[in-house]
Amino acid sequence: MRSTDAVEWAYARWLDLVLAAALALGGFLLLEHGSDGSHVTGGVMIAVAVFMGLYRISRRVAVIAVPYLWLLVFFLVPFVIVIKISLSDIALAMPPYTPTLDPAAGWSGFVDFLGKLDFDNFEFLTMDPLYYKAYLSSLKIAVLSTFLTLLVAYPMAYAMARAPEEWRGTLMMLVILPFWTSFLIRVYAWMGILGREGFLNSFLLWLGIIDEPLVILNTNIAVYIGIVYTYLPFMVLPIYATLEKLDGSLLEAAEDLGCSRLQAFWLVTAPLSVPGVVAGCFLVFIPTLGEFVIPSLLGGSDTLMIGKILYEEFFSNRDWPVASAVAVVLLLILVVPIVLFQRNQQKQAEAGK
């Protein structure tokens, strides 16, 4: 595709998305707040938004349409709602914030509604150091655990790609297998393993390597273990994919030209697997930054992660507006790596052509 085409195309699609999103948002708001009659209107608006998306996108490949619809319905619309809540004020009501949009009040009601939205919650986030500390600490944990995951995953992916062909399917299955069990149960299992009287300590004591049980559970170490374990497949699979399609004759050519096996790895295998490594790092880093289950179950009181803060604001303090503001900032932080990730994917797709 020529670059001017690409720009035009993206531009046209973006406008579509905005329009459809606005319609869908209106529809959802009506569904949420409206009276009986406006429920129907809301439903119709959402349907129209969906059809707009479908119609416009159906001229493109259906493969593209599905993820975009998915994004629209399950990401963009909820996100706009979250932004709206983050601009509201806490209230002892159901829902616990104000203002809410009353479509019956007409245009003046809508203007009134907009006037009541403000950035107080975001200001609040800058005043309490807890928040920026939590963001920084999350960032640190996410970066470090992404790196650790890479260290574990690369050799695994390498071994898988090097295994005899008839084994590879099975090995891949083994990597994916943990997904068949609930994530929560698997994290609980780690509590059983890492605890004071857990399997790990019992085993090490039995071996005589240690005299005192190690304190791992409820520390950051347990959080790292949990994250590396949970997100390992997201790192292994993209790296495996790049290593597996690496042409074996390239390594033979490198050896033929005087490389040792190790040099051939560093000069050929490693650079050619970079796209997989980058993809895997993003796939681990992005969800880890907002991770909340693992730090709350395996971490200690000093484990500071923004996901945990968000959870507490939402459920303990019932402060939906501040929780929403935390979420919006988190998402803004994530926009950078997400865009970079998309670029990497695109570059890879182009290189594969």
Partner: protein, 379 residues
């Protein structure tokens, strides 16, 4: 098949018993599981040779090359390079470079870096590396593509990069595995001459794998015809073509008529009785053939003359009817059935324009050839 670059001095080290071969295969066998890919093979290849391995797919050509490059070890036997056993030497320590069938260019490196790759692994100083790469770029006419990545150049250019890369370290032996397979015919012919030119200039020993017999005939000093992991015949292109040692080789290289019959010894040769009532074929042969022995007679189409009356200066004649004519521009092939149903192909150069041609479909013609034109084969 012109060979314009051949020097007038006859190059035939294999005929000189004092000449030391560069490569010696000594009773080499290679098995994959219980499949024998190379079967007790013995072969000498000499310095500066352009040696072609020819054979059907799966006959073991690549396996033979990979053993020379060091990617496979022989199951039995020894491989010597310059008198030294190279089996224990790993690929990166051998003075051998290979141009891969798939080119195997490094996609993340530019043309320049691909060519410099091997040099950087050697102890050559930096500035000399630059010079050497420039020299290789010039040799393969790639100067203007040095900065491109492999996916930004054409198939023919890629093939030249692969060649430049494998030549850069000035190996004692260069292995080329079906190097021209991906090229169209015209580019292929050009590249064949380019390869010969480069081989002359660099004095490197080339071993080339091909399944294109014409290519082998064009470039090679000697050709080895293989089948099922065995060498069937090793000889010069002319030797392979004019004096095949078996029906397999005769049939593999070029067009040939095979006529089977019973031999009868006569003064200075044999007669081959191939059909009731037909005059026997007279043929000269060095082989020791018994009376009544079943033999095959191989004769190339261009050695048979087509005429309306027998050409009396030739020893062999046969009458038949033209059933088909293949017009190839520079020559025409006449497919003639003899009285006993035996089909024979004869080809004549089209020295005259088409309208002046003498024969057409269903004409009765006479085929004539000399007693030295064909080869008697017993296997």
């Amino acid at each position: 098949m012109a060979q314009p670059h051949k020097t007038p001095v006859v190059f035939a080290p294999w005929e000189n018993p004092t000449e030391k071969p560069l490569i010696e295969f000594k009773g080499v066998t290679k098995r994959f599981g219980d499949f024998t890919a190379i079967d007790n093979l013995t072969l000498n290849i000499y310095q500066r040779e352009f040696f072609a391995l020819l054979g059907p797919s799966g006959c073991g050509k690549t396996t033979l090359m990979r053993m020379l490059a060091g990617f496979e070890d022989p199951t039995e036997g020894a491989i010597l390079l310059g008198g030294q056993d190279i089996v224990p030497v790993p690929p990166n320590k051998r003075p051998v470079n290979m141009m891969f069938q798939s080119y195997a260019l490094f996609p993340h490196l530019s043309v320049w870096d691909n060519i410099a790759f091997g040099l950087r692994r050697s102890d050559m100083p930096r500035d000399q590396i630059g010079e050497r790469v420039q020299e290789m770029l010039r040799l393969t006419r790639l100067e203007s593509f040095a900065k491109r990545k492999p996916h930004q150049i054409s198939g023919g250019q890629r093939q030249r990069v692969a060649l430049a890369r494998s030549l850069a370290k000035a190996p004692r032996l260069l292995l080329l595995d079906e190097p021209l397979g991906a090229l169209d015919k015209k580019l292929r012919n050009e590249t064949q001459f380019e390869l010969m030119d480069i081989q002359e200039k660099t004095g490197t020993t080339f071993v080339i794998v091909t399944h294109d017999q014409e290519e082998a005939m064009t470039v090679a000093s000697r050709i080895a015809v293989m089948d099922h992991g065995k060498l069937i015949q090793v000889d010069t292109p002319a030797g392979i073509y004019e004096a095949p040692n078996s029906v397999y080789v005769a049939d593999f290289i070029g067009d040939v008529n095979i006529i089977e019959g019973n031999a009868k010894r006569i003064e200075g040769g044999i007669e081959i009785h191939y059909a009731e009532g037909a005059a026997p074929i007279r043929a000269m042969t060095d082989l020791d053939i018994a009376d009544g022995q079943r033999v095959s007679y191989a004769i190339r189409p261009e050695k048979i003359a087509v005429s309306s009356e027998p050409l009396t200066d030739r020893a062999n004649h046969a009458r038949g009817k033209i059933i088909d004519i293949g017009y190839l521009g520079h020559l025409s092939s006449y497919f003639v059935t003899l009285g006993n149903g035996q089909k024979v192909e004869a080809s004549m150069t089209n020295a005259r324009r088409l309208s002046r041609r003498d024969f057409t479909w269903d004409d009765q013609v006479c085929l004539s050839w000399t007693d030295t034109a064909g080869v008697v084969l017993t296997r």
